[in-house]
């Protein structure tokens, strides 16, 4: 076991992790933050997207032991109390949520992208989010949600 400390959603956390454990597993099972989802665990679907030291990553592909002293933002850190993040609110209003399993990864990835690129084109949104797979919506409602934000 390896001891690590990291800042998750602004909070200092520590964990003893196996050298084989991903950041996703440690977030979900050790740090009690199950919002990030395990859907493929090989970096294909984006359901486990988190922001690690300013970079969007698939947390299933990052070894937890490599995250000592890192700063992590997960879906649990997006809303401010009862106030949803604008991406969350737009997804809710547009019908971008169905089963919801891809949703945490989608909102983390979209919020991160829009932070850096506040006015993307539809093509840019599609390309930037092409690493997040949704099986329910066909992406239409998600695109409408994010286009609405981009135009503000």
């Amino acid at each position: 076991m390896i001891d690590i400390t990291l800042t998750v959603n602004g909070e200092d956390r520590s964990a003893s992790v196996r050298d084989s454990e991903s950041l996703l597993t440690v977030l979900r099972e050790t740090l009690a933050l199950p919002g990030s989802k395990p859907a493929c665990e090989q970096g294909e679907c984006g359901s486990c997207s988190v922001v690690l030291d300013g970079e969007l990553v698939c947390s299933c592909l990052v070894m937890a032991a490599d995250c000592d002293e890192s700063i992590v933002r997960t879906v649990e850190g997006l809303a401010q109390g009862d106030k949803l993040h604008p991406v969350q609110q737009a997804m809710l209003d547009s019908g971008g949520v169905q089963c919801g399993f891809c949703t945490p990864g989608f909102v983390v990835a979209a919020a991160h992208y829009l932070d850096e690129n506040p006015d993307p084109s539809s093509d840019e949104l599609r390309e930037e989010l092409s690493g997040n797979i949704c099986r329910c919506t066909g992406y239409g409602a998600i695109l409408r949600a994010l286009e609405g934000l981009a135009q503000r």
Partner: protein
Amino acid sequence: MTLDQATRVKGGIGQSTIRPDGIPKLTGDFAFVNDLFAEGMLHAATRRSPHAKARIVSIDIAPALAMAGVHTVITQEDVPGDPLFGLEDRDQPVFAHDEINYWGEPIAVVAADDRETARRAAAAIEIEFDVLEPLTDPEEAERQGSVFRHMKIRNGDQDLHGEVVVEGYYETAMQDQAPLGTEAGLAVPDGEGGIDLYGPSQWVHADHEQVYPCLGLAPEQVRVHPSGLGGAFGSREDMSLQIHICLLAQITGRPVKMEYDRSESFTGHVHRHPSRMWYRHEADREGNLVRVEAKIILDGGAFMSTTNAVMANASYFAVGPYRVPSVQVDGYGVKTNNPTCGAMRGFGAVQSCFGYESQMDRLAEKLGMDPVGLRLKNALAPGDRIPTTGQLIETALPAAECLEQVRLMPLPPPLDSDDPRHLPGGTGLTTPRSAVKRGVGYALGIKNLEFSEGFDDYAEASVVLTPAGAEVHTSAVECGQGLMVVCQQIARSALGMEHVAFVHDNTSDMGSAGSTSASRQTQMTGGAVLEAARGLKAEVLKTHGGDDLNDEGVWRDGSLVATMDEVCANGPVTFHTQYRHPPTEPPNETGQGNIHADFAVAAHRAVVDVDPELGLVRVVQIDTAQDVGKALNPQSVIGQVEGGIMQGVGLATMEEMVVDRGRILNANFTDYLLPTFLDAPNVEAILIEQEGSWGPFGAKGVGEPPTISSTPAIVAAIADAVGKHFNRVPVRPQDITGVL
């Protein structure tokens, strides 16, 4: 109540009301089965067969049991009750014990302190196999009589023939539902010998019926709870890990959790049946269909699952929504050593739609007719009979209207960009714009709604008044499609109240709602909620002599005569219903009868850009018109339309489980391709609302029609672009280029 009154209530029907599970799903707070946790729980793992056909010579669990942290290892000899389970037929052993019938069949499960230990222990079990040759060719299975069900349909004068004849052979691949959430579950001993199960289920009462006999328990000792699913699309109708974790919990006395990874999810649930179809269409010179002959083989794999019903559906809808005076269909659901197939969105209607719509295009070509014109000329309408079963169509069925509306929708502009994101192949492959050819294709599809063939199909629900508002109680599973919100909307409109909560009840607290499948819950559980809400309202109005109800209480002549506290003075007021759709009947020996409860149609137009040299396809746009009866939540309906179409895009262009001698070669998201944001076409949809269905406020189920005719429309568009017919889906690059 008129519709106008009903829609006045805030959050009632006809409005795109926000779903109650939306915020928790957006914040990460929603508990999916994958997220469940219980204090002191053990973790479980499954040992599966590496062979598609074999005899088990010996199983030695000792090496697994000897590992630190392992609590128990169980095999078939540890099953205390019924050794078999199955959704339609109890034909499958809980664990393979003497023979292996498919690759990945479970042989043993392990419970351990943690998941990693459980997986290592499962791998440590020593099993000796006598490997046998698997039966994997479905045509050979049919020849050998390895058949679950043969569906024989004969309708009309069998000696009728047309002058213009088109024959074709078609195949559809094995598709996976690939819900984003994998199978996971938690079984918790209740301390009195019983078990609470939180698992991946589309129908908790069907799980209950299969679980408790295997445990050797009384029905009331097992409670199955509707739980958070990351999608389903048919994949959770059958058992996966439910019995296994309940057995482990029963034996260890501890809560037990199991979670499949993606590879095991592909192995551990059923798939869409691959099909082989032979068609002969005959028409007169004016384009009137005269006779259709079809032979359809669906590969059911090793165990029955829902093969009989899927195959029956493929057969009942084998000629599509067209008038045909003479029909001969033979459908076979065959038993092989391939992976077991069962339910997936569209349930048999998908496979045959690709066959008959391909035939319609070839027939139009042979007749020198416009393919849309040929379809319109033959389209079914109310008052016609379903050409296979002879059933009179008594409700709305706007087949021609759907197609006409789609044809009138504007086409997208021509390709005018060198941006690779707009080109076939996208940013990963280089296709010059000059090489790209555009094509347009149409297709029309039909499917039954609800369960058929005389099945006693019902849904139970209660509506309860409390001082805080109303509650809808049901055991109907929410897979993600929006069942909870539509139940709230129906109750709000029926009661005239805004405060309506949705409450999920387990199998002990509520009767069955039936399956969340067959596009049935809006009509069935929605129908039960409407009936219960109306019954409840009538009862409290009568009790208090009122003429209206709202969140404040009961009113008479504009004055409040009983507050909600007074209405509930003796406790909550409950109205419970068991709701049934119009009765259906089993088919006679030639497939005739009033077999279906309701039907829905949809039309699709696909616009594609194709690079014929590299065999690459970009689906540019899908336009659709769909028969929805009444859109109770327009935003949810559009969500079903868009999402269902994307699964049709997947089957048309990329989704295929590659199975070699029974073994799945691509059980992961790297090799099993799913449409991404960049693969997603623009979708424009028209919802056709026609009154007539018996569903609540005239609503029809909407989940499956989008997935049925979208696939053949795309294939027709590819064919239009490159001037060549295709006879299998998905259409692969080599099918377009002709070069392997």
